[in-house]
Chain length 130, copies 2
Amino acid sequence: MASLSQSARKLLEEKNFAFLGTLNKDGSPQVTPTWVGTDGKNVLINVATHRQKFKNVSRDPRVAVAVVDMKDPYKGIIIRGKVASIVRGKEAEDQDDELAIKYLGHKQNRKPNTHRAVLKIEPSKIVETD
Amino acid sequence: MASLSQSARKLLEEKNFAFLGTLNKDGSPQVTPTWVGTDGKNVLINVATHRQKFKNVSRDPRVAVAVVDMKDPYKGIIIRGKVASIVRGKEAEDQDDELAIKYLGHKQNRKPNTHRAVLKIEPSKIVETD
């Protein structure tokens, strides 16, 4: 497991978007922009469970995540790793609320019958660009 | 082949970064931030040929590209497609210069013994987020 440096954690804590790479069923890559957070060790991404990216990581946990400073996109991190655990239920809804507050300044209503999951991504390799 | 809408072309023509998803040798995903352009039909990404992403697309041409408006990251495009052709030599160096002018405002010196290639990415599916 690779450790997040202080600057990497800062990028994940600020209001930058992450670009999550996952694998489709046929092995082709998918990339989607998402909100992101961190617990200091893992990259935390919150997804609705009906989304393709959730199906993808449930099938194959290997992922890549790129985050750049939206104000200075030459500064960024590229992470390879795997989804080490998936958390559902209240913890996932709470983390979804936390991210909404971080990015939008307020909680947002969840759509009915939408279920959330936190992807806890354990980095195996981290490259910082500057 | 999917067509780029006017708003998709605009996102590619402005100074936004693209996040290119490729496949490593072991089939795991890689995501890297890059400059990007378009000829109106294809997504054009210029890479140094010693880079992992170039090796990856030379082995397996399946890619994904996500681009968001850096000023409003809720507006973006997600593209799936394949590298339909790779152009090297003077055309690749000229396109590298074009991108440097677009992003930096001026050409930059290429490192000695660095070779450039244009990846012409033919979109098979385009999703716009708003």
